[in-house]
Symmetry: C2
Subunit: 236 residues, 2 copies
DNA sequence: ACCTGAACACCGTTCAAGT
DNA sequence: ACCTGAACACCGTTCAAGT
């Protein structure tokens, strides 16, 4: 290992000129997706970032699908599964939920990446296995455990931010969208849409808000626990 | 009304040559998305379908975003809100869940269309209002009602089919994907991924299966009811 | 009012060629 | 082994022009 990881990176970009490889490409693509949106990720744009031709990237990545796979792996490398070490399964599940939330806050492109139909690679398998383990040890059958895991994944993703296309650090954009939602729902005709007018502030607040997430996580846990309670008592 | 709706439609396409308008464009685009995938929807392709230039479509549709809005409206026109007429709120919510499922089975592109960040048009407002009404009348506060509605929407969408990119009538494709999932998860190293190997059949079965949906819908309802029960008793 | 043609700035991907 | 250049078949969108 002669090369130092930190030699001349222009303004914090994770690319080192001249060192083209799969990991670096995936990391750069992920960074691009998180800061400029998933649509900004293209072979031509990526090539430009590495000061190379678009075709050069095909040496390390089969096609666009494979690139998205690599990005997903790169993202999930930082996923924290330490929640496994809790003693109560409820705390383990809660830990998973909040770890996933943290991941999605750090990587807004996570929503797009995680909802692709693709065979998982090692990092994703690791998380999947750990999650199923927690739920199986809690007393759920395999099918139940799988379904509950899916349930949680989808719900957390939708709770962290409603709608696609958000980008890292776009606080201003979110605020504006929230204001737009409030104005829109708040000014609907009250006779035709009484419930929507009434709920306008809550809809607008859903744009971000920690309270919104906590509320949703509680609802989610209530469902899982209720399901557990409705089963013949084994452990719970 | 001189023109008959049914004069010479080539092989069941909902376009009548020479009658370009917003509704017809939206319907055709939706049909295209449902049968060939959302990516098949382009101005050039759509224009070809109507035997016209791509630019002609811009007379009726502002841009691609507006086109997707119009498609969403076209899709939601067929949404059945008759579940409102049930007497028990649990049946009302169940009715909504199954109506949404029916919509998504008919329109596989629904997943993509419904998860866009956009201001809703009349059909979507109608459904939103009706759903909030059901939940408010059941005794939930505005914020709770909104969150539960979101919860249900996301969960049903993810239950009808896991992963994006499916298309109408692609039963064969789904079957193949299920087989691929089974082979993949079933042949993972047992020592490293015991839970995944064990759960492989359930993961594969999630590709479709009515049982899978019923199971998920029950879990969903269990959560909503548990949340209702945890509140100070007003109606429930 | 409604449609066309040409153009601009993009895509993913293939293939033959360079070093 | 690794990268380039040119090409193909696509995109959304703008603008000036036709009838």
């Amino acid at each position: 290992m002669v090369r130092n990881k930190n030699d001349q990176q222009p303004e914090g970009n994770p690319n080192q000129k001249g060192s083209l490889n799969r990991e670096a490409i995936a990391a750069q693509a992920l960074h691009l997706a998180d800061t400029e949106g998933i649509d900004a990720v293209s072979f031509r744009r990526l090539a430009q970032e590495f000061e190379v031709t678009a075709m050069a990237i095909y040496r390390y990545v089969d096609n666009k699908d494979d690139l998205l796979d690599a990005m997903t792996e790169s993202m999930l490398a930082s996923f924290d599964v330490s929640a496994q070490q809790e003693t109560d399964w409820r705390d383990q599940v809660r830990g998973l939920i909040y770890a996933l939330r943290q991941l999605l806050l750090t990587h807004p492109s996570g929503r797009s990446l995680l909802s692709r139909r693709a065979l998982p690679s090692t990092n994703r398998l690791r998380i999947f296995e750990a999650s199923l383990g927690i739920l199986r040890d809690a007393g759920f059958e395999p099918q139940e455990a799988f379904l509950i895991f899916e349930h949680i994944l989808n719900q957390v993703v939708s709770l962290v931010v409603t709608g696609d296309g958000y980008v890292k650090g776009a606080e201003e954009e979110r605020r504006l969208w929230g204001a737009k939602l409030l104005a829109f729902y708040g000014s609907l005709p009250k006779q035709e849409y009484p419930r929507l007018v009434e709920t306008a502030p809550n809809i607008a607040a859903s744009v971000d808000m920690d309270h919104h997430f906590k509320f949703g996580a509680d609802l989610l846990m209530a469902g899982v626990e209720a399901f557990a309670a409705s089963k013949p008592p084994r452990k719970l």
